[in-house]
């Protein structure tokens, strides 16, 4: 029985939830396995291999051959895949083929950088988007609503590198406030690091803001048309209270989904921003490894990205269920 109030349906059925989570995790593992095959096949299908791409123009048939032999690239693809899989399930990520560094070391630092930037952008973007969305719904069709929509939609319509270059031109070159490149190193304090990533963080915020803001606004407006909102209004509840306490909790489900998707984008889709700001994240590593056909690194970073997507989607689904009594108590 749907109720208009949040948490009106009692505690979630923990047993059902656990079963759902386990089932979804099971599916995720299968998905990851399929993805690893797809990544392997994709990289195999590209012309050339690591030996050729590293040696480039100076490759000789015999040096390429020696290179392949050393890296076991001369073995048939399925043998290489199975040996990689065998190591992987034992938790052995292996070493980068091109510079023999352990992949955990190579990826660990970059993954933490990627997560740092994503977290910083999310901390700014998510609350901002939701507040703006609520305000836009509250004052819909006013001048404020139109301005917010226009600005955020324009920001999303430009390619992200364009926004990045505009920001650099304005508040790095013309007005020297922030650094134009965001190279991090270990000697930096947290404050230094935050200062260094202001521009990429701002760029990402502008890129993801519109989605979440528009979704929040639409979901709330949708809910505002339902009879129980009318009832609340008739009872004399203030508009703000209606929107924040009555409408928003019921609009959460689609908002959570779009937030999760954008978070996944912040982790896995920011290669261009990384390039423009010279930010040492995982995306750059993935692109370089693909172009050099460094398969173990491609696999590892590809699977991390895939896990992030799957994990965030799973989380979004679970949160939607938790936030929606109808889904929580199916009947």
């Amino acid at each position: 029985m749907p109720t208009g109030l949040p948490n009106g349906g009692g505690l979630p059925d923990m047993k059902d939830m656990t079963a759902t989570i386990l089932k979804r995790i099971g599916h995720s593992v299968i998905t990851l396995f399929v993805i690893s095959i797809l990544i392997f096949a994709g990289v195999e299908a590209l012309p050339g291999d690591l030996a050729e791409s590293i040696l480039g123009q100076s490759a000789l048939p015999e040096t390429v051959e020696a290179f392949r032999k050393e890296l076991k690239l001369d073995l048939p693809p399925h043998v290489r895949y199975i040996s990689w899989l065998g190591d992987f399930v034992q938790g052995e990520m292996g070493r980068s083929l091109s510079n023999h560094r352990p992949i955990t070391e190579l990826i660990g630092w970059r993954l933490s950088n990627t997560l740092f930037l994503a977290a910083a952008a999310a901390v700014v973007a998510v609350p901002l988007a939701i507040i703006l969305g609520i305000l836009a719904a509250l004052y819909r069709n006013t001048f404020f609503d139109r301005i917010v929509s226009m600005v955020s939609l324009s920001a999303i319509s430009f390619p992200e590198f364009f926004i990045a270059y505009i920001l650099i031109a304005l508040i790095s070159v013309k007005l020297p406030l922030f650094p134009s490149i965001s190279t991090l190193d270990d000697q930096m304090s947290l404050a230094d690091k935050l200062y260094t990533i202001v521009l990429p963080c701002l760029t990402l915020t502008m890129v993801v803001l519109a989605h979440m803001m528009r979704q929040t606004r639409a979901a709330i407006i949708n809910v505002l048309a339902t009879p129980y909102i009318e009832m609340a209004r008739l009872k004399g509840v203030s508009r703000l209270r209606v929107v924040v306490l009555h409408a928003f909790p019921n609009a959460l489900s689609p908002v959570i989904n779009v937030v999760a998707l954008n978070m996944a984008y912040l982790v896995a889709g920011v290669v261009i921003v990384e390039v423009v700001f010279v930010y040492p994240g995982l995306g750059q590593l993935l692109v370089d490894s693909v172009s050099k056909r460094d398969l173990p690194v491609v696999q590892a970073s590809g699977l991390i990205f895939a896990s992030v997507y799957i994990g965030l989607n799973l989380l979004a689904d679970l949160l939607s269920i938790a936030s929606n009594p109808r889904l929580r108590n199916p009947r």
Partner: protein, 528 residues
Amino acid sequence: MTDLKQSTPPLSTDPISRRKFLKQMSALGLSMAILPGVFHGSAQAAVPQKGGRFRMGMGGAHTTDSLHTPTLADQFEMHTNYALRNNLVEVNQKGEAIPELAESWDVSSDAVKWMFDLRRGVEFHNGKTLDAEDVIYSIRHHMGPDSKSGAKGLLDQIDEIRADGKNRVLFTLKGGNADFPYILNDYHLTIVPAGTTGNEWEKGIGTGGYTLEEWEPGVRSFLKRNPNYFKQGRAHFDEVEILGINDVNARTNALKTGRIDYMNRTEVKTAHLFKRMPGIEIMQTAGGLQFTLAMLTDISPFDRNDARLALKHAIDREEIVKQVLRGYGTVGNDHPIQKNDRFFAADIPQRQYDPDKAKFYLKKAGLTDQTFPLHTSDLNTIYLDMATLFKEQARKAGLKIQLIKEPADGYWSNVWIKKPFCNCHWAARPTADMMLSVAYTSQAKWNDTHLKSPRLDELVKIARAELDQAKRQEAYAECQRIIRDEGGTIVPCFKDYVEAASTKVQHGPISGLLESDAHRAAERWWFA
């Protein structure tokens, strides 16, 4: 070693002998450090100052970069490597071979046996003293059947390397080579401690002017001056920070905002805007970097020299330099020797764009209706621009060229030397012999035109082993003529290196052998 000619200056027409030169230099306490060259700018620039952190923004950086010398290939890793390690021989800004870890050398009269005396008391960063075993290990590492080195082809000419005591290395070549010391300047052939293996390569141990503090491939290398450096008057910066910045706009902005002091690979399209900025110097260096169009001379229709000549007359080199290189370069003359090279034959007339001649040769070849497919790629922006412009120029001369765009991935393995007509480019080689024997003799490993000219082969062989400069000059001039008139290569242009730095950065004359002052910027430059 009685057959070694003593005190022969084999590589220079300079009346001062090499020994005398060195003696004078050491007497000045300068060793080989500052060459009596003319320095740019004001007189104060001639006295290098110590100190400061030199921050370089480098395009050509990859997370797959490595300090393993056999696989060095791009700018970020190459520059880091050269700041950490030294060659036996250095090629200076004038293109002369000067001593580096080798203090001096001598050669037998047939240029087959070479003897290198090592500088004594040079220490690696880990405290080990350099000796002949280190040199032999470092060179041999690139040879043999298991080698995956980019320098393997260069070293095939070595028959034997052995030590003669702790401080002397003897090379016996399979044939005479008067330019052998130049080969030892190759960036792969930097010297490491004997036994360096596996992960130890990434520690960057060498004898160079800087030691490795941090190494994050493709991102950042951080170096500190080696207080124990054997060269006087080199490695002036306290610290060097090399940042991998592949995006040219990001590099440009970083330089404009003062985040870096130097950037390589300035965009030629925006260099004129950059020039107007105060505090920034554009450095334009003529080198041997050349862009070519390679035709396989044994595949129809390129097996007919008239077809090749038709195409060679159908390209407007001046326009390509003007439009594609924006003036940052010089026209080529369909042979690989650059104007500043000591063996450049100035008397060969420059080939011009001549639609009538192109039509004439096309008709002579009986190919008036032929369409020539040209394989190009966005591997390098110049490839596409040049190919597109050439297509239009050729159309005006009545030649039909069809452009086929190939992916940058695997271009070198799937297109180059496989397709009968394609784009290519060559980095400078320090000697005419290296350029000719890398791509033009029948036995050349990368003969991308399948040119087989017995006369050319013979000339290259004679000139290689000849110690008489005048005779070499003559032989190389004929080589240039043969390649120009019979070869399968169109050389429309040589591109200058265009780089930019803050005016704080001071430097002597810049070498055009490789980018970034032949990758010795960190070692040679200083702050005002």
